[in-house]
């Protein structure tokens, strides 16, 4: 079996770093990554130096692990960075039944026989996109091993069934996300997987920044956004005491969006924050009182 080395066109032409906007062959109808390109700038308000760090890691082609609680902006950061770097973003939500073929690709039947179909990981590696494996711990450990050759110096993906040894496109980068608060004995990242990534730790942003984000995303005034954030911050103090997680930025934005469409702010926060957080009547009562106090 002779590996067919498909060296992707090296479009390293100097746009390694911060491209400052979308670039890179977006409108070509034959572009296989067209569905994965990001048109308008996704809003992202940095709370620290994560944008610079990400851009630098991308320039150095260091695979990135985004760590942080649910709804704190991991996916949004990535969308923003993909747009900023002018790269397509191929996202895959990981789950227990994900197989290596789901990632790499498989033969499909067609009229004259069979046809090879690249999986999302192969697609991204072949054509130079950022491949994002969301909640990577959810995938079985033996599945996540297929990413190993792509995430070290080799930057290769063996397509065993197809008899091809794919060398990743120069623009390709693998990014995974991971919620460290996730408590599970059966699922964890193997050290051999973990050590292939540089990790960016994202938490909930500081209150004033978070209020700015909520105001922007929900299109509400700054005062209401600040109140929603005050509520969110305080629910996080209940983490481990009745709540598994406090309210995420995403939840606060949902509440803001409902309020922006004319639902009164108390109802909006009850529907989008308090009720989803808990089924426990005591905790619910505490949250309801907290909601009244904060809004």
């Amino acid at each position: 079996l002779t590996p067919v080395v498909v060296a992707a066109p090296a479009s390293l032409a100097g746009d390694d770093g911060d491209g400052g906007g979308r670039s890179g062959g977006g409108t070509d109808a034959s572009d296989p990554l067209r569905p994965f390109r990001i048109g308008d700038e996704p809003y992202y308000r940095a709370a620290g130096d994560e944008v610079t760090l990400f851009a630098t890691a991308y320039a150095a082609r260091v695979p990135i692990m985004l760590k942080g609680p649910t709804g704190c902006g991991k996916t949004r950061l990535l969308e923003h960075m993909a747009w900023r770097l002018g790269r397509a973003l191929v996202t895959l939500a990981c789950h227990e039944d994900l197989t290596a073929s789901d990632l790499v690709g498989r033969y499909l039947l067609d009229a004259d026989g069979t046809r090879w179909q690249d999986g999302p990981l192969t697609l991204a590696a072949r054509h130079g996109a950022i491949c994002y494996l969301d909640e990577v711990v959810e995938a079985r450990q033996d599945t996540s091993v297929v990413i190993h050759p792509l995430t070290d110096a080799r930057r290769m993906l063996p397509l065993e069934k197809k008899g091809e040894l794919l060398t990743a496109h120069a623009d390709f980068l693998l990014v995974v996300s991971y919620n460290p608060g996730y408590q599970n004995v059966m699922k964890d990242l193997k050290p051999s997987t973990r050590q292939r990534f540089g990790a960016l730790e994202l938490g909930y942003p500081p209150a004033d920044v978070e209020a700015e984000i909520v105001a922007h995303e929900a299109a509400i005034d700054a005062a209401l956004a600040a109140r929603l954030v005050a509520l969110g911050v305080r629910t996080r103090a209940m983490k481990g005491h009745g709540l598994d997680e406090g309210a995420s930025t995403r939840m606060l934005i949902h509440a803001g969006r409902l309020a922006a469409r004319g639902i009164d702010r108390f109802t909006a926060a009850r529907v989008a924050v308090v009720s989803p957080l808990t089924d426990d009547p005591d905790v619910g009562e505490a949250l309801a009182a907290l909601l009244d106090a904060c809004l």
Binding site: D97, T99, S101, R106, Y107, L108, L109, G113, T114, K161, P180, G181, Y182, Q183, N184, V185, M186, R227, A230, V233, R234, T235, A237, M238, G240, H241, G242, D279, D280, P281, D282, V283, E285, A286, L287, A289, L290, L291, D292, A293, C294, L295
Partner: protein, 579 residues
């Protein structure tokens, strides 16, 4: 589901809700602040070294009404504001009773104003409970109630000259809001004016209005005289019900002793001095112990004695067990076991036989045939039950502190019900599991009891043994963890888990340094992890939170803050861990 576990009796649920509310309001600003429900008869809330105490009810707002529930949150928020913004305790000095009342009133207004500046909804919560009117009787308490309202509610109109003056002073831009000294100044100033009015005032009978406000013993260096008659005797008479971080006070530590019951002296108060158990010891093992102060592991430092489990005290059958754990929780565990089993169904691809064609394999076979190669005939897919392939060791902390009462039950009774329910779940999902427990009395006597061995069946006598758990002595956690690790050492499973139930930090009679045993426990956990074991701890009660987090780590520990829900919670915690 959790809420249905134990029916809320006598509004205790509201106490827990208020405790959570205070936790959220303070947002960690003042560390761990317990919230307690005061004995019946106490009509005003107060704070002391034990925590914040809320009245059991607010009869003036109706029994169990929505307003009464809000009054409890208002009281909780008011005390939280004192805790958050109170900067010092004041000396009474030469202040007269009227001045003391007024200083307290201004301090209430000050902390409420600061709190409402952060969270404007608090002002609404409090304002609703102010009902004083300008037309009220011209007594000093009535005037105080009006003044309180005037300082909180801007829209309240009151022409009384004292109130106008107070408002002007209090809302003056240069009035220092940052310190209780400002309140002291305004209170003594206004006290002179009020004194000249010769209003009726009986300091002995004075009770602050509105009822959500506290009695100010938190503010003054010694309790104001009138508070003594009302609350103190009651406080000493009854054992309070604790709903905050520490679920219950041990009898004897109640009362205003002026001292925080340091560490509850767990080791020093053995409930049952262990009878001579050497007869039951089946063997012993020695383990090293980590001494953080010298950075060295002391070899063969602790002796763990393996005891045969106690014989069940009373005979009984399965029906007793159902009564013991409750039919509701038992049904929920059965249901949970079913869910877990359903989750275990996995697809086996490339099977030689099965109900569905594995598309990938079938296509591969077609490709092979066309290429002239002998195709792989394993082209089916079938669904089969996956073995989770776990070995679980439930390790119970049996130390004396587990005898503390939570409402009508002891912590250990909740632990044993939780253990039985988890056993039902593990047996229901066909897991390999053991239930062990430990206690200690110095490093030479770490007792290790095996209620169920890994290979033993889950049977009625096992359940009965767990039902009859008894608390004893201290908590030498590190040695017990090492011993549990040894029990799992030879077991070949994909995942090996030690699940530890504990109500606090390790301690023992021969370890006076409170950091010594926690350090050792952390070491013991790290050793097991290096050997590929998972160690997870469930803290019993919020007070255990910081301890278990330090020893086991954020991602390998959790806390059950409402202990009465533990039996229901433990199986679910386990299910979440292995799903």
């Amino acid at each position: 589901m959790e809420g249905a576990a134990v029916p809320a009796r006598g509004g205790d649920g509201g106490g827990r809700a208020a405790a959570l509310f205070v936790r959220a309001l303070l947002d960690g600003a003042r560390g761990e602040v317990p919230v307690l429900i005061a004995p019946a008869g106490v009509t005003r809330s107060y704070g002391d070294v034990l925590g914040l105490h809320l009245p059991a009810s607010f009869p003036m707002h109706g029994q169990g009404s929505a307003l009464a529930r809000r009054a409890r949150f208002a009281a909780a928020a008011h005390l939280a504001a004192h805790v958050r913004f109170g900067d010092q305790r004041l000396a009474r000095g030469a202040l007269r009773p009227i001045q003391i009342v007024l200083v307290s009133l201004f301090e209430d207004a000050r902390v409420e104003r600061l709190a409402a500046r952060e969270l404007p909804g608090l002002a609404r919560l409090w304002a609703e409970l102010h009902t004083a009117q300008p037309t009220d009787l011209a007594t000093f308490p009535a005037l105080c109630a009006r003044l309180s309202r005037a300082l909180l509610v801007p829209s309240y109109e009151d022409p009384h000259p004292i109130i106008r003056k107070a408002r002007t002073l209090f809302f003056h831009p240069h009035h220092p809001l940052g310190s209780a000294q400002g309140s002291r100044r305004l209170g003594s100033l206004l006290g002179n004016d009020v004194g000249q009015m010769r209003l009726a005032f009986n300091a002995k009978d004075y009770v602050v209005e509105p009822a959500y406000r506290d009695d100010h013993r938190l503010l003054w260096q010694e309790p104001p005289p009138k508070a003594d008659d009302e609350a103190a005797p009651l406080e000493q008479a009854d054992v309070e019900e604790r709903v905050g971080p520490r679920e219950t006070l041990a009898p004897g530590t109640t009362g205003a002793t002026g001292e925080r019951p340091a560490g509850r002296a767990r080791a020093a108060t053995p409930i049952s001095t262990a009878p001579d158990e050497t007869a039951r010891a089946r063997g012993s093992a020695t383990y090293p112990e980590w001494d953080y102060s010298i950075g060295v592991s002391r070899p063969h430092w602790c002796t763990v004695r393996d005891l045969a489990a106690d014989a069940p005290a009373a005979p009984g059958d399965d029906a007793d067990i159902a009564t013991f754990v409750g039919r509701g929780p038992l049904a929920r565990v059965t249901n949970l076991a079913r869910q877990l089993r359903a989750y275990d169904l996995v697809k086996h691809r490339r099977a030689r036989e099965g109900d569905v064609v594995d598309l990938d394999a079938a296509v591969g076979a077609l490709v092979d045939r066309r290429a002239g190669v002998a195709p792989d005939t394993r082209v089916y897919q079938r669904t089969a039950r996956r073995r989770r392939d776990l070995a679980v060791l439930l390790l119970l902390d049996l130390s004396a502190s587990t005898a503390d009462p939570v409402r009508e039950q002891r912590v250990i009774d909740l632990e044993s019900r939780a253990a039985v329910l988890l056993g039902e779940l593990l047996a229901g999902t066909g897991e390999l599991f053991a239930v062990h427990g430990f206690s200690s009395n110095g490093r030479h006597q770490v007792d290790y009891q095996r209620f169920k061995e890994l290979d033993a069946p889950w049977e009625t006598t096992t359940r009965r043994r767990l039902r009859d758990l008894s608390p004893r002595l201290s908590t030498r956690m590190g040695a017990a963890i090492r011993h549990a690790g040894r029990c799992l050492a030879g077991v070949h499973r994909r995942g090996r888990l030690i699940l530890l139930l504990t109500d606090g930090e390790p301690s023992d009679v021969d370890a006076p340094d409170p950091s010594y045993l926690p350090h050792d426990a952390r070491h013991a956990v790290a050793e097991q992890r290096r050997r590929g074991l998972h160690v997870f701890a469930v803290g019993l009660g919020s007070a255990a939170a910081a301890g278990v987090r330090r020893i086991f780590g954020e991602s390998s520990s959790c806390v059950v803050d409402r202990l009465s829900a533990l039996p229901d919670a433990l199986p679910r915690i386990y299910a979440r861990l292995v799903r």
